[in-house]
Amino acid sequence: MQTPAPFAYERATSVDGAIEALARLGGDARIIAGGHSLLPMMKLRLAAPEHLIDINDLTELAYIREEDGEIRIGALTRHVDLLESELLARRFPLFRDAETVIADPVVRNRGTIGGSLCQADAAEDLSAVCSAAKAQVVIRGGGEERMVGMDSFHVGPYVTAVDQSELVTEVRLPLPAGGLASGSAHEKVERRAGDWAIAAASAALWIEEGRIADAGVALSAVAPTTVHLERAEALLRGQPPSEALFAEAGEIASADCSPSADGRGPVDYKRHLVGVLTRRALRRATERALGGTA
């Protein structure tokens, strides 16, 4: 039987209360939301917090809304709600692509976006999705709020910019200014339904007058951390979308990741796969941006 090491449990009744509890309890306290990353870690004793602060009652952190030119997603929003959100599917369709293949429907009833990002597991899909969508993460603590881009949010494998007495409260996705068409897609290959990715590619494109005004491209599961493909983005910027361009971006993706050989496949296979998935994601993002005319 796998059972977590003993801990004390308390329920937060407000966001400020949760932050206050983190500050009061110090380094041995952890927030628990869906628990589908933390509890498995605790069962394996890879994590052994002495205090758990349950934030599942903080329903004020569960929402997806459009506000001030952004999509704002509360940290406690569950995978099932990300999957079913029509607003998100319209504005950032890569979320629905990813959520369709994250774990299984029962797990998706519990897991949250805040928990997924805070787990900072390179194989997890939403980190690449948020990186491609140029998300900002809102972190609250000590009476203040700060915003951190995905590159700074993920400090390393399983390590984030969130301090001990801070809480992630929101994820913000900037919407394109008027005149810009946008499209996005997430492409994943997995061994079986609900598994972690062998590799996955997320792409978001903002297109203006036939040229790519801006691009976001990121990869899951092919490096110790989520791979943000800045070289591929630089290549895409200013160019008209084309198959040749996407093939070149795919080659950069294959080169700029660092997969390791494991039960999911050897390195050369994963590099090849990353190239194919990057190309497919860019192609589908373009089709969506241009309403299927690309």
Binding site: T3, P6, G35, H36, D54, A103, D104, P105, V106, V107
Partner: protein
């Protein structure tokens, strides 16, 4: 710590360790052994129960987190000797052999039909994609859920 959880419509209170998982609370503290404890890693789905009507994996949720919530287990399906249509469907269509996955499959199927009374084969397969059966190859399980859907639709028309 003390928890009170509504299980199958009855308020149940117990003194537990905070680290007790829901599956062990059900099986050991309440002696409701219908819920099976399988992989312990939220992969197999044998331990699925309904929390406020939604299927969850009880091996990956603390009993303490269920305080104030309603849990429904496989024991609640049969009422006064009458099987729930999903149970009857599993019987009619031979949707189990060893039976280990069955409680999780039944509760996952029950939740699906509560939300979507007329699911397609694809929708059924998606709904049970988090539940593993090593005996049946799933074909008869899908058929059993369809049987239950059709049976429930017929019952509703009669009513």
């Amino acid at each position: 710590m003390n928890v009170s959880i509504t299980v199958n419509g009855e308020p149940r209170a117990a003194e537990i360790e905070p680290r007790q998982l829901l599956v062990h609370f059900l099986r050991e503290t309440l002696d409701l052994t219908g819920t099976h404890w399988g992989c312990d890693t939220s992969n197999c789905g044998a331990c699925v129960v309904l929390m406020d009507g939604k299927p969850v994996k009880s091996c990956t949720i603390l009993a303490a987190m269920c305080e104030g919530h309603e849990i429904r287990t496989v024991e609640s399906l049969e009422v006064d000797g009458r099987l729930d249509p999903v149970q009857q469907g599993f019987y009619e269509r031979h949707a189990l052999q060893c039976g280990f996955c069955t409680p999780g499959m039944l509760m996952t199927a029950r939740a699906l039909l509560d939300e979507n009374p007329d699911p397609t084969e694809h929708e059924i397969r998606t709904a049970i994609s988090g539940a593993i059966c090593r005996c049946t190859g799933y074909k008869n399980i899908v058929s059993a859920v369809r049987w239950a859907a059709e049976h429930e639709a017929a019952t509703r028309q009669e009513a």
